[in-house]
């Protein structure tokens, strides 16, 4: 027997460079499960990729439509960006009763969205990140920052929740200005940010998008020297393209401490991709959660296994890390409980979103170093 | 009918029309001649609203029409042809004519949607009219041809044909004859005279064919360098030294040429 999972990510479009590692993460979980031969007595799992474009709601909807109705997938890893994810959830997944687990859609609005219990995410809401970021900045004694965000629901949502949290704790946001991704030039934005001033610049953007452009401009013109990087900005690219220039800057990504993450990175390395790439662990977890839930429910029917996802994620039971999916399946088959921890210390709260452990990072000698987990 | 007072039209520093004053009498067929670049077409374009004059005034039957736009002038009964044919290339020859009359009820969308019958009746009449004009111009076999595919002369005929689709008060013809077969041009000349006599159209005609001018026009106005050089009946104008000097030439050379040609023929033959 074979079961298919859809992978709806933005393979073309503004986040095209982030998507491959995410898809590979999800596919790795599927391969692991298939290879173990323990899912529902030997069912194999294949992933079907679909291009959600990240920005075009209509195209994403059509893609998910194809995955569900033509490819007959039993669940979807995706969508990638909050807007597109919302559209395909409401227009296709819900009417068809298919489970969607998004690794990366982080908009606070998704927390309260009507979803018939079909939508989950392995990443935390940006509301949480705003608080974490506030704490970090405050702890470093910085009292006034300029904020720039990528002009979409993610960027705006994050920037607003951060600004609210920061000001509530007595900080001062000198400017909270959007930048559009994929623009040819960011001189205007940098000029405005510089004029507003501040002790640090928070860039709530994407590292392979406008975020880098702003960073480059701010560095070159000498407008700022300390930067704060939320999830979208933390990536290998940052080390590669900026390195020592941003020493002393810091930030955070949704990620967990410990064994799970490291193990995942190791496995990814063996599979030939970069497991530290943003959200690729979350994608692994998204796929794993669905597959384990199927086993727990003893059914591939989304209407049935959707009930099991929270259980699997939050325990009680034995902790399951990346690479141990076979073991998890076995335990479930034996009727025992598990607590899936995965690559990102999965812990789902509220209506099924990650509680959000964040890894605080700092750039030291041109490298991203982990400071601590929050 | 039309009065032009001290009209100027400058292109950058160049004075294409440089203080021309003239009058086209009602009911006349006025000829307008002059060397190439004298400003004749520019004058037409200013009168017909294509160009705004730099200064000066144009009146039509006493009414100031300076600077009115072409379509307003059309509705006041002022029609014109273009020296370089301005056909509607992707439309058929017939459509080129049928589009001309103003105030067709089918030109409003409302009627196009809800008064089909009325439109059909009007269209039938227009069609008949267009076919008559085409017959007259000897191009009725081309009625369904794309106008862009016509020969140079046929386009000029179509240009003229458009002015025959409606009742006009004054018609400006800019070198309708250039490129038109002379036998046909004679017929056209006759038609102009007939329209003038029978329907009282006023004409103003630019033409370089002196036979045509001489046969049709009275008076003839001569322009040179943007100004009016002379004005009068054709016979007088053609004797006018200044006009001969600037425009007509002596015609003498022609004879020499003819002799030369026969001479060479003799040698060759």
């Amino acid at each position: 027997e074979e079961v298919k999972l859809g992978i709806s990510l933005g393979f073309t479009g503004p986040l095209e460079s982030m998507s491959p590692a995410m898809a590979q993460g999800a596919e790795m979980a599927m391969k692991e499960v298939s290879d173990s031969g323990k899912l529902l007595g030997g069912t194999t799992v294949t992933g079907v990729r679909g291009d959600s474009t990240c920005i075009d709601a209509a195209a994403a909807t059509a893609t998910v439509e194809r995955l569900i109705t033509a490819e007959k997938v039993k669940g979807i890893v995706g969508g990638m960006c909050s807007g597109e994810a919302t559209a395909s959830l409401q227009n296709v997944a819900m009417p068809n009763g298919i489970v969607m687990v998004s690794p990366s859609a982080t908009s606070p609005a998704l927390s309260t969205l009507e979803d018939n219990g079909l939508f989950f995410r392995t990443s935390p809401s940006d509301a949480r990140q705003g608080e974490v970021m506030t704490d970090e900045i405050m702890e470093r004694g910085i009292k006034s920052v300029a904020v720039t965000y990528t002009n979409n629901d993610y960027g705006k949502g994050l920037a607003d929740s951060f600004a609210a949290a920061f000001e509530a704790k007595g900080g001062k946001v000198t400017i909270n200005a959007a930048h559009d991704d994929g623009k040819a030039d960011y001189a205007a934005e940098v000029g405005a940010l510089a004029s507003a001033g501040g002790d640090a610049l928070v860039i709530a953007g994407y590292v392979d998008q406008g975020g880098s452009g702003i960073l480059r401009g701010a560095l070159d013109t000498g407008a700022f020297s300390t930067f704060v990087f939320p999830d979208g900005m933390v990536g290998e690219v940052l080390e590669k393209n900026f390195g020592p220039e941003i020493n002393g800057s810091f930030g955070q990504i949704p990620s967990s401490e410990g064994a799970g993450k490291e193990k995942f990175i190791e496995l990814a390395k063996a599979a030939g991709f970069d497991g530290s790439s943003v959200y690729s662990g979350e994608a692994y977890d998204a796929a794993a959660l669905m597959l384990l839930a199927m086993q727990a429910a003893n059914s591939t029917d989304p209407a049935v296994y959707k009930e099991k996802i929270m259980e699997i994620a939050n325990g009680p039971g034995e902790k399951i890390l990346p690479g141990e999916l076979g073991k998890g399946l076995e335990l479930l088959a034996a009727g025992q409980d598990i607590d899936y921890d995965g690559a990102s210390s999965v812990e789902l709260i509220g209506a099924g979103e990650s509680a959000g452990t964040f890894r605080e990072i700092e750039i030291k000698d041109g490298k991203i170093e982990t400071v601590k987990y929050r | 009918m039309i009065r032009v007072e001290n009209l100027h039209k400058h292109f950058g520093g160049f004075h294409a029309v440089d203080g021309a004053s003239l009058e086209i009498a009602k009911g006349s067929i006025t000829g307008l001649i002059g060397p190439n670049g004298a400003g004749k077409s520019t004058l037409f374009n200013v009168i017909a609203g294509v160009h705004k004059p730099t200064s000066g005034r144009v009146t039509m039957a006493g009414e100031d029409i300076t600077g009115l736009s072409p379509h307003e002038l059309f509705h006041k009964g002022l029609l014109r042809t273009f020296q370089i044919a301005h056909e509607f290339p992707t439309m058929t020859v017939r459509e080129n004519l049928m589009m001309v009359p103003g105030g067709q009820s089918g030109e409003t969308l409302w009627n196009a949607w809800f008064h089909r019958a009325r439109i059909e009746k009007e269209e039938a009449e227009l069609l008949k009219k267009a076919d008559e004009v085409l017959d007259f111009l000897t191009i009725s076999h081309l009625k369904n041809e794309r106008a862009g595919n016509l020969s140079g002369g046929q386009k000029k005929l179509l240009e003229l044909g458009r002015t025959m689709m409606v009742e006009a008060r004054i018609v400006f013809l800019d070198e309708v004859g250039a490129g038109v077969n002379r036998t046909l041009l004679n017929t056209i000349g006759d038609a102009i005279v007939r329209l003038n006599r029978e329907r009282g159209y006023t004409f103003c005609v630019i033409e370089h064919d002196m036979d045509f001018i001489g046969r049709l026009c009275d008076p003839v106005i001569v322009m040179a360098e943007g100004k009016v050089l002379a004005e009068g009946p054709p016979a007088t104008i053609m004797q006018n030294e200044a006009v001969i000097e600037a425009y007509l030439g002596r015609g003498l050379k022609n004879k020499v040429k003819a002799e030369a040609a026969t001479l060479r023929n003799g040698v060759a033959g």
Binding site: F11, T12, E16, R49, D51, I55, A57, A58, A59, T61, A62, T63, E65, R66, T69, A70, G83, T86, A87, Q90, N91, M94, P95, N96, G97, A109, L113, N152, D153, G155, G157, A178 | V50, P70, H71, F74, H75, F82, H86, E87, F88, P89, T90, E95, M98, M99, V100, Q104, S105, G106, E107, L109, A112, W113, R116, I119, E123, G148, N149, R162
Partner: protein, 443 residues
């Protein structure tokens, strides 16, 4: 070399029915091979695309107006369902709504004053007075607007933070969408229609960008990039979940041998298809009647040669404005329909490639100047745009199937998603290659 125009497309009268038959077959094949849900999904968006193409064709095909601001008019149309159908945000009007409306009135008054001055004064004085009015007006406007906007946006920002709508049925939003787009087109037309060809193109491109920028950044109006979700469906389309929960429906589906999920999703899509097809049919009839009438002839004459048309008494400026507004209205209508299909308004997704140039591709591939061509182009290009997403990787899989393992193969497999663009491009080039004046040429 020859100077003649390409000869009229072969096939004559049967050409159009033949192409539509092919299109129908493609949809049916899609339905049979991958399921009716997908096929109907493509059809529905295809129908909307057809309407969009029809609107662009009115402007370009009839009148030769190069409008590249299509995305802006679609977006304005899309605003209508938000303004009409969303429930009003409690307390928003009191918090700042009235003040915002006041600010807009001020802005309008300033503009009118500027235009009035423009007509009154001359030379230096005019320039100075106008600049003074506009600048002063701008600051007054901002002074009134800004606090009100802050107040409105403060209301439950993660879910609301905007004025909301009127809570009326969403079908009403369709004509409103048309009207919004038409209104904008009227303003644009009044100022910019003096421009020609590519210059008009860039002006309209800019206007499109401006409209989208406003929709993206004025949160009080439509939540900006935070998107508006859950826009109600138009009458008579129900929600799938409700159908699935209705015993009556489930029973009837069972009689047809369908499971409730499939039955409900297909039923909903069919209803949408019916709605859209009705609108398209009405528009198409209107467009055909207009194009075949003296009005259409006049438009074509204007397109062919403006100077001559003006000399023949046609008011070129007014007609341009008329058709520009009309085309924009059709585009706006389609924009509103699209939002009621999607159920959400995402201003950030209005990018010109997808919503301007793809529509243009539809018009040109279909055959500009031909209404049926636009409809065909809309359906076909949308079909290809969606199918290319699946074909690209499939083709790549075929190519790589026989390659040995290795870095090169891996590279190709990883790049498979980009085949979508290549496939789309190739198809476009091929279609235009074999019928350079479009599939259904004007004549």
């Amino acid at each position: 070399m020859s100077t003649h125009q390409p000869t009229a497309a072969k096939g004559g009268k049967l050409r159009a029915p033949a192409f539509f038959a092919v299109m129908a077959v493609l949809i049916v094949i899609e339905g049979l091979s991958t399921g009716w849900n997908g096929a109907l999904g493509i059809l529905n968006m295809g129908l909307i695309s057809a309407i969009l193409a029809l609107g662009v064709n009115m402007q370009w095909g009839y009148a030769g107006l190069f409008n590249t601001g299509v995305v802006g008019f679609i977006a304005l149309g899309g605003l209508a369902p938000v303004l009409v159908a969303m429930p009003p945000t409690a307390g928003a009007m009191a918090a700042g709504g009235w003040r915002i409306l006041g600010a807009l009135v001020i802005a309008g008054a300033v503009l009118i004053a500027a235009v009035w001055l423009n007509g009154r004064l001359k030379g230096r004085a005019k320039a100075a007075a106008m600049i003074a009015t506009l600048v002063a007006g701008f600051f007054v406007y901002r002074a009134v607007l800004d606090p009100a906007v802050d107040a409105v946006q403060a209301i439950n920002p993660s879910a609301l933070g905007y004025l909301g709508g009127l809570g009326l049925p969403v079908l009403l939003a369709w004509p409103v969408g048309a009207a919004l787009a038409a209104g904008a087109a009227w303003l644009v037309g009044k100022t910019a229609l003096g421009l020609r060809s590519d210059y008009l193109a860039v002006a309209t491109l800019g206007i499109g960008e401006i409209i989208v920028a406003v929709l993206k950044n004025e949160e009080w109006l439509d939540r900006g990039v935070l998107n508006v979700n859950g826009i109600p469906r138009p009458w008579p389309v129900p929600y799938e979940i409700d159908l699935q929960n209705s015993a009556d429906f489930v029973a009837r589906a069972a009689k047809l041998g369908l499971d409730p999920v499939t039955a409900s999703t297909i039923f909903v899509k069919l209803l949408y298809a019916g709605l859209f097809a009705t609108v398209l049919a009405l528009l198409l009839i209107g467009a055909q009647l207009a194009l075949k009438s003296p009005w259409g002839r006049m438009m074509r004459a204007i397109r062919d040669n403006e100077i001559a048309a003006a000399a023949m008494g046609k008011n070129v400026t007014r007609r341009h404005l008329q058709i520009f507004v009309l085309g924009a209205a059709v585009i706006g209508l389609a924009g509103a329909m699209m939002i009621s299909l999607d159920g959400q308004m995402t201003p950030a997704s209005y990018n010109p490639l997808r919503y301007t140039f793809l529509i243009w591709v539809m018009v040109i591939v279909g055959g500009s100047g031909n209404n049926w061509g636009s409809v065909l182009g809309g359906l076909l290009i949308w079909y290809l745009w969606i199918k290319a997403e699946a074909w690209g990787p499939e083709i790549m899989a075929m190519i790589t199937a026989h390659l040995g393992e290795g870095a090169f193969k891996q590279h190709l497999v990883d790049s498979a998603a980009h085949m979508r663009l290549i496939v789309m491009g190739l198809v476009l080039i091929l279609v235009l290659r074999f019928s350079p004046r479009g599939l259904l040429p004007e004549r």
